[in-house]
Amino acid sequence: MASPVVAQRPAETPAGPGRRRRPGVGRRDHLIGWLLIAPALVYFIIFLLYPALAALYYSFTEWDLHSAPIWVGLQNYTDLFFDDVKYPHFWKSIQVTLQYTLVAVPLTLVAALGQALLINTIRRGSNLFRLLLFLPVVTAEAAVGAIWRWLYDPQYGLVNAVLGLVGIPRQNWLNTPELVIPALAFIAAWQCGISMIIYLAGLKSIPESIREAAVIDGAGPVQRFFKVVVPMLRPTTFYLVVTGIIAALQVFGLVYVIFSGGGNRSVTGGPEQSGLAYVLHIYLYAFRYNAMGAACAMSFILLVFIMIITFVQFKFMKQEAS
């Protein structure tokens, strides 16, 4: 335990820079340091660094995983962008993913902020509501997909039954191209619990004095929301938008489960490819058609895209900080 150690601490030990590295310990420390990070470093090299570099190399090759890769230069990239006979759904998958991101991210954030605001105003039962609203987050995406397929069932689904109560006619949600993205985005918003918790922490960090000052100045609840809460939450929102976009661009497990049916082989990406997320498209090329080179090229395009977003985020964060 730590407490006896504290008790025995000599009072005259000054704590300051320069005291941390004591002479004579240095070299042994280097060795211990290397030993301690060794397992993590080996893991990092084998399962992160090498795969990332290998993916870049493979993206310039034609490769089926079994025979040796054949170098083709930039051909994978140019074919993806310009050869719509070879890759008929490449642009479609980009369009689907961007549409999904554009709908799902704002919907999720609005739901999360709304829930956080409501929970923040009550005392009794706030933990219970927080817990209930968080349940969807910890659910396996295989289960989420299975449950929502059943809820969206055109004939016996609960969604249609509930909407029927307010007079909205039955829809075949997952089989109507125009409805696929809204249906998927709703599931994303249903799983907004993490953003909700982060918003809640953000709300708690707004000093009470600012709110009181606004009340004294005669600001009503609506004004307070737009003039105090929204600006104070700007960094939080920014963070959630960026991470939300990065996550939405990589949506995969859910669409894979939702659109797999009648046997493992028939994963297609929904009616008229309306749910063909970009990563699902990569998955199909890699693990169905064994076109590893093209799949790696597609995944590198995604990597570059995400790096640009992250870079922009850093720039903005720096600007905010200064």
């Binding site: 150690v5 211990i32 990332a52 929970i119 349940l135 910890v138 449950i147 004939q155 609960l158 990597l303």
Partner: protein, 281 residues
């Protein structure tokens, strides 16, 4: 009722509605999973497991029995249990050791390695899948439980979180222990780890949930149904039995309920952990 309660009433109503949206899918999942096949498909949704014709109480455990034995979700359940129970502690140890070194033991090149690892976090999982699959084949662990464990046995994010926490611990404690003659490892075990229970708990729980739920990597690295993890077996079930919601919902319940129990027990730690890691990054 005082005035304040009245004013809060609409807020509570809104929250109850939102909570219903959040919870009803799970209730519906459980309800369906206890119904006999014919009773599932009714024109008016029926929450309780009643007989479709007579309206009598008619629940069953048969769906669970079927998916557990015939669809192989039983095997998958135990696979998931033991894989998670091996993976999470080993991962925790590897990450904690590295995090301690990154936080407290200065050696040349340390910070460069750390920054490189952090940069590696940016790489999307999908980019790594194909080469990782190749690596598992080369290592001879493709289509085996080790093919799941090895590629997940450390996490840069967890190392980062633990390092941040270790750095907040007062250095004086370590110095005092060192003056008492404790070596680095003794300090790590007896001073650092006991003080780090909050972060260790968060990392353990989130790792457990993540690996219990993970679908994508098992989908790629496993081929034999004998090794399937629960999410993968559930996906297969949802695909092959797509017309039989009662089986699929029983399977989904098997995957969902254990995690819900963990969430109920550790909810406070999980929420703190999310707020912590979310706001830090």
């Amino acid at each position: 009722m005082n005035q304040k309660t009245v004013r809060r009433l609409p807020i509570y109503i809104a929250l109850i509605l939102l909570a219903l949206v959040s919870v009803v899918p799970f209730v519906w999942m459980l309800a369906t999973s206890f119904k006999n096949g014919p009773d599932v498909y009714t024109q008016v949704p029926q929450l309780l497991p009643l007989d479709k014709k007579t309206g009598e109480w008619n629940p069953t455990l048969g769906n669970y029995e079927y998916v557990f034995t015939i669809s192989g979700l039983g095997t998958a359940f135990w696979n998931s249990v033991w894989i998670t129970c091996v993976l999470v502690p080993v991962k925790l140890l590897i990450d904690a050791l590295a995090a301690y070194a990154f936080a407290r033991i200065p050696f040349p090149g340390r910070d460069k390695i750390f920054v490189l690892m952090l940069a590696g976090m940016m790489v999307p999982t999908i980019t790594l899948l194909v080469p990782r699959l190749h690596v598992t084949q080369v290592l001879g662990v493709y289509d085996s439980p080790w093919g799941i464990i090895l590629p997940n046995v450390a996490s840069v994010l967890d190392i980062f979180l633990m390092r941040q926490f270790f750095r907040t611990l007062p250095v004086e404690l370590e110095e005092a222990a060192r003056i008492d003659g404790a070596g680095r490892m003794a300090i790590f075990w007896r001073v650092i780890l006991p003080l780090s229970k909050p972060v260790l708990a968060v990392v353990t729980i989130t790792s457990f949930i993540f690996h219990w739920n993970d679908l994508v990597w098992p989908l790629i690295v496993l081929n034999s149904p004998d090794f399937y993890t629960l999410p993968l077996a559930l996906q297969q079930l949802a695909s092959t039995e797509s017309g039989r919601a009662y089986y699929i919902m029983a399977g989904a319940a098997l995957a969902v309920v254990p995690v819900m129990i963990v969430l109920l027990i550790f909810q406070r730690r999980i929420m703190q952990g999310i707020a912590f890691s979310g706001l830090k990054s």
